[in-house]
Symmetry: C2
Subunit: 406 residues, 2 copies
Amino acid sequence: MALVVQKYGGTSVGSTERIAAVAEKVMATRSQGHDVIVVVSAMSGETNRLVALANSIADPPNAREFDVLLATGEQVTISLLSMALEARGCRARSYTGAQVHILTDNVHTKARILEIDDQRIRADLAQGRVVVVAGFQGIDAEGNITTLGRGGSDTTAVALAAALNGSECQIYTDVDGVYTTDPRVVPDARRLDKMCFEEMLEMASLGSKVLQIRSVEFASKYNVPLRVLSSFIEGPGTLIAPEDETMEQALISGIAFNRDEAKLTRVGVEDKPGIAAHILGHIADANIEVDMIVQNVGADGTTDFTFTVHRNDYQNAFSILENHVKALGSGEVRGDEHIVKISLVGVGMRSHAGIASTMFKALADEGINIQMISTSEIKISVVVHEKYLELGVRTLHAAFGLEQAA
Amino acid sequence: MALVVQKYGGTSVGSTERIAAVAEKVMATRSQGHDVIVVVSAMSGETNRLVALANSIADPPNAREFDVLLATGEQVTISLLSMALEARGCRARSYTGAQVHILTDNVHTKARILEIDDQRIRADLAQGRVVVVAGFQGIDAEGNITTLGRGGSDTTAVALAAALNGSECQIYTDVDGVYTTDPRVVPDARRLDKMCFEEMLEMASLGSKVLQIRSVEFASKYNVPLRVLSSFIEGPGTLIAPEDETMEQALISGIAFNRDEAKLTRVGVEDKPGIAAHILGHIADANIEVDMIVQNVGADGTTDFTFTVHRNDYQNAFSILENHVKALGSGEVRGDEHIVKISLVGVGMRSHAGIASTMFKALADEGINIQMISTSEIKISVVVHEKYLELGVRTLHAAFGLEQAA
């Protein structure tokens, strides 16, 4: 008998019919002999309704009170799911974040979990109850209600699995797993049976938004195996777990891409220490997040410094660089909003030198010009013109044989 | 500087516009130099919405979970009102029942308040904050969320006023006070400036449903002055307070009436001890509440035993009496659904013997036949044919000069 934590998102509990279906799923897991803790989000649409109420009262609403308001969303779901379980003869108890002392810091609307009191939950599990916990919420040391921000329910589920030493944290969502790439771009895309945390982190941060990056980091830190499954389609989903030997076989797990980037280049920067930090300092001061950074030393003692930002920040970043040019009285700024980033991700690439050349050759064979390259231990990203996104992803998916299991 | 507890019901907080208006009212009280604790109900319609959700999931829903669900209604209101106050520059903090430890017994859906932890509230008041508390809810000793049942928010308000030694507990509602009788029946009916708890209890239990009887009992027990006011019309409302000398001047405070009663008579009961208890025992076993009871000893050694019940229980009670007659093989049952009860209420009648005769004469002058009479220290009730309701109430209102202040 194992302890399983299951998390159901807003769409999965979006109506009383769907909540009834979740109850059946939970009971099926119980009938396999497992203890079950269920974490639920607010019913889809509910959070928007509450936000609209708040905005019609105050703009911006007081953050402490906003959390008190939003926390009611999950409280509604935990009670309804527990009722559905009890009505089916399955003993269940709901708990708000406060009731199981999900202690957080006091940063309202994006608090971080510090500690969970598992005593009450353990007592209920020992008595054969399903424990239903409100995701996304906690309390600070003074008893104020806090919320965890985007993806908070995933984080709650992982934290509970960690605190109670669960064998698996199952994240039920509207997709049936993590794919080698977006099936809308590559119809051949394959659901991955298994991947490691590092791969998932690279996939998530690159735009495969199945799981929030924070919950993956959390799961990785506490070694909690995560499984992404569909609430609507039966299937094993994708297991995201610590790296093991069997994983080494796959060179590449998947191909992530990001359509939201824009590129800026500061041309003719004097090649001396501190210049890059100086330029990025201005960008950071404006609260603009930088993704890729590339710098090449030129032959003439100057260098071109290039980086990418979110397209929404492009105009702002461009102005900052222009001011910098004006202040120095030399150099030039170039920019391009029509770029995309494509990334190969896979722990296997660590020990295989040929990945990059295979990637670059495959793209070159299709006449796709690479504008920037950036690499990490388990990832190679390239920036190309946006018109090549689909072609590039499909080309790489085929080149690495991702449509077939490793 | 005094401490005032204000309670706003569902209609008073029924929209974000009305919540904004409540914020203004609270700030007006603050600006008079008072500390303010505000207790709010769920926005009107919200509780019905939640109940419908629960009923579509389970019938009946689990009581513990039903309370978890319903408690979200007030939590939404406390956060919105606190936001409205903060947005207007008035420091405020919301608290759920759990957060200020409104400790109750564990009878879900109709829990009773045992204790309130006033420490946190006092600290906020000392720092110049308005404290906004969710009505209707608490927690039991194990931390489970409980609700107080009908009129629960009034009870919360009174309990807070008692625990924090408030100078007054103001109940804002959709009427501007307690009237000498229903103004729809007597256009001359007058708003009472002041009445005592005992009078209010008799008025409330007799159908003047301005305040829930439980909250009046609670206020009486802890000597908390209550004031009934309108959220929508400015005015002093009606103060309900411990009896004092000035109150003695008014013989009669008001006239209550009840259209929902029916009368049953067990004719020809053997006049010996225990018979009345025996008959009422069968009625009580069927969960039927009995209001008035009258018995007269006859000359022939038998007696007629008459009582009134709610009209909904009439048929059921009639069958029970008929079975009783059959079992004994003697006697008869008579019933009448076309009756109403009219009651004079006033602490002043204790010391004035003439009240009853004035009442009976006034009714007789209009040809109104009295079918039953029942009296208590501060109340005289008569049962008459339902066609005489309006005439009877108007006649008595005029006979005792209630249209004029005492």
